[in-house]
Symmetry: none
């Protein structure tokens, strides 16, 4: 097998040492062997899967993806394969299947999602199309070039496949189903009952997930959900993530004159909404990046001593990331990335008023808009967090409306803002000391000689609270893909090494007892 760098004496030697050090289980070694012999078939099937458009907005495309997954499952001998549908027509279904193991004392559900983010074709690199998977010699930003798929089935770890959802999250589907295939065909037995749940609406906000979970409550009973989504740690090490941040948004629009004005004829007499908005936003954080909104950091449930300890053991990537991102200062000086994502956050996703660049004109714009993104940690309630921001805006002297201001409102108020709050959801965190979590960590350790990183929470958001709410389920996230995969953006990709290592990861969890 050849998905690391080109083999060399040094490589073979270090592989040998790592296997000794990590006490890799015979099971994992069998799976690895199977991958080595079947890399070609796996990649070929994966390319077919990636070639199916899966933009969340197009239900017909998503049905094709669901059918493809059902076939993958049936081919592998998975039973009770079916679509779990919402009551509304046209909603992408979840794909379900199961393997019931006699004598198993526990049940795991493996989760991934098969829908993808929208694609702006103009942003992808020349020659790349989101749904024509192409193999590259390494990452494009590292100078990689397109290469043919190898006829000898030998893949190198640093090669990448570029396509929408190559990482997010068809990689999760493929890692799970290939792991089961490798396990069965290597003569191994699952250590638990296995259930498979592949969602089709994650990138559209999982709007019908609650209904699907509620409807299939009994089918979906388990001891643990394993969520295969998100990237491994920036250090390249495997990680287990115990929680996610919650998320919600506020859309703000400041209103000034009814129409854009000539900035000469009315400049410094008529109010400028861009300046009003800038002044408002500037009151929300101090110069050290701390949010100054009253009570913003209240409600937070502190990390437990175990979680705090785990966080301290996460290797720091701050300097590496600063270098990669070309920044020399962080927003909250003295706060590490790990600490920052364990705090509620306020971010400006977008700002717009008038025009800049070639389209700029000499105007006082009529309105100025911003989108605020509020990430939440355990203890925050998304409605309460929105309310804190709204109260702050009110305290700055703004009259708040939910629609275009009326003539009457314009007459009565000097500072008018429209606030359109979006729906949101809260954070979720699974406690680290559950016995089944301990078993899972032990299983994962058999796949790697390196430290497995334990993250109390990841920075991103997933509606994992739904599993708790509807099924009383425990969830834990086990990512497989590289951190620089460009998920949600142009040139999404997966590193081949991560693709194969992800199969081992999932396999190790399936055989654990």
């Amino acid at each position: 097998m050849n998905f690391m760098k080109k083999p060399s004496l040094f490589f073979l030697l270090s592989l040998l040492i790592s296997q000794v050090v990590s006490a890799q289980s015979p099971g994992v070694l069998s799976i690895r062997k199977f991958i080595q012999l079947n890399a070609d078939k796996m990649i070929s099937e994966y390319s077919e899967f990636l070639a199916l458009p899966n933009v969340a907005a197009n239900p017909v495309d998503l049905k094709r993806n669901a059918a493809f997954i059902m076939e993958m499952m049936t081919k592998r001998g998975i039973r009770n394969v079916q679509l779990l549908e919402a009551s509304t027509r046209g909603i992408p279904p979840a794909v379900y299947g199961e393997v019931i193991v006699p004598d198993a004392t526990q049940t795991l559900v493996f989760y991934a999602h098969y829908d993808g983010q929208p694609v702006d074709p103009t942003q992808w690199s020349k020659g790349l199309e989101a749904f024509k998977p192409v193999l590259f010699s390494k990452a494009i930003h590292q100078g990689g070039v397109a290469i043919p798929f190898p006829s000898d089935g030998k893949y190198e770890g640093d090669w990448r496949i570029y396509a929408r959802s190559a990482s997010d999250d068809k990689a999760g589907v493929a890692a799970i189903l290939n792991a089961y295939d490798a396990l069965i065909k290597s003569g191994l037995s699952p250590g638990s009952n296995l259930k498979f749940f592949f969602e089709g609406e994650e990138e559209a906000g999982s709007t019908h997930l609650n209904e699907i979970l509620e409807k299939h409550k009994s089918l979906l009973q388990s001891d643990l959900w394993v969520i295969a989504d998100g990237p491994i740690h920036q250090s390249g090490r495997k990680q287990v993530v115990f929680g996610v941040r919650g998320d919600t948004h506020l859309n703000l629009t400041v209103y000034a004159s009814r129409r854009p004005l000539h900035s000469g004829q009315y400049g410094n007499w008529a109010p400028n909404p861009a300046m009003m908005l800038a002044r408002l936003l500037s009151t929300m954080k101090d110069e050290n990046g701390r949010v100054t909104i009253n009570g913003f950091y209240d409600d937070v449930i502190a990390l437990s001593p175990t979680e705090r300890k785990a966080l301290e053991e996460v290797p720091s990537v701050d300097e590496k990331m600063k270098n990669e991102l070309g920044i020399s200062a962080v927003e909250m000086p003295g706060t590490s990335l790990g600490e920052a994502i364990n705090l509620p956050s306020l971010n400006i996703n977008g700002l717009q008023s008038g025009n800049v660049g070639k389209m700029a004109t000499n105007q006082i714009p009529a309105t100025a808009s911003a989108v605020l993104d509020l990430r939440l940690v355990l203890g925050n309630d998304w409605r309460r967090q929105q309310q804190k921001v709204i109260s702050h805006i009110k305290a700055q002297g703004f009259y708040i409306t939910e629609k275009e201001p009326t003539d009457e409102e314009r007459k009565n108020y000097g500072k008018i803002i429209k606030i359109s709050p979006e729906d949101g959801y809260n954070a979720q965190r699974t406690t680290m000391d559950l016995p089944i979590v301990q078993k899972l960590l032990a299983a994962l350790k058999t796949t790697t000689p390196e430290q497995v990183i334990l993250q109390p929470t990841m920075g991103g958001s997933l509606p994992l609270y739904l599993f708790e709410k509807h099924l009383n389920a425990k969830t834990i996230t086990v990512p497989v893909v590289n951190h620089d995969n460009n998920q949600h953006a142009e040139n999404e990709n997966i590193r081949i090494g991560n693709f194969f290592e992800g199969i081992e990861t999932m396999g190790s969890l399936m055989i654990m007892k």
Copy 2:
């Protein structure tokens, strides 16, 4: 003729009274009669002119406009029609023509410009296109609807034509050339030698105007330049403007991470350029709208007693405008519009970072940009004024660059801003007591029963200092268009009444001796 409100007994009566009161000259009445009979032809020619795209950035389009104007001039018997070109190829030329009158003791040059501001089609009202002129029953913001051009040639004063440059400043070109046409065809004689100068680069900053004026110095000798640009007074009265503000711009871009980041995974750790920019902009003004930049209001040459007296006699439109614009507070409480435009100003023309609305994504943008517009009054120097702002930005801890930051700069500086200063020009003011100015005021008074307003300066900017510098010329601005014309923005329009009254205004100046 029917370009006021629908005729009524009251209207006819008031028209009669106004003619008596204002002692309108027979010349002006002949011109009015001519307009009445030829409204249809004039509007039809004007619509053709407006249908020619004239965005300042596109020299090929501007050439077509120049050719159209030359034809208009030739058709009217204007002599020596020619293009005055800059030495650089592709620069929109000025269009020149003249009428030399035996025995005339003075020479007037009539100025307007034919290029227009950029167009963002998405911002125009549904169904409107910038270069497809459409007639409306009144202003859109007053509930006007599209109506066909009348087959009987009868136009009402409150109707409007919507198109880019309908007011700014093809209206100036049309008012001047139609006035000459009306005058000649009514058997009147010009009282002065008339020269015509239509610029094609005004909205692009008149970058080559100096060269054109210098090159054609002797051709352009005159006693007075009449600048037909900008709107009449908001009270609806005619006005004469003795000066203009200067203008210059600074384009700002704050740089944060090299690429947009997932706002969950890096939120509140990676710097947010939109917040950095908002904080910077908020330091530029206090809560009373006063610019807090060091020395910003220095250098200003105070109004003379005559100018101050004229300013005091300008009817206040503050309450009317607040009502019209739907604002209840002005930027500098206690400062009138008239006072405000006699101060240097700082305005945000545009703000942009990430996306808002439907295109918003959960990102920390990589950059945030703003355009600052600095208006200048007599005494300000545009380079010095820019420098004050740049020094202020530096004092806020920013590292200033003129291009994309290098890796080295990214490593060394936490707050990086690119500043791209644009060229600019200074303010200009013509003294009120020149004899030819007094004659001009007397001529104007023959066109209206109402007070003609004398404005020491207008809020807008024109590079009038160039005429003084290169030709030692006097300039005076005589606007024709309605104040609510949306110039420089979407839905630009001209009120039909103003279109026709502008012709009378220009005609009265051409026949004055």
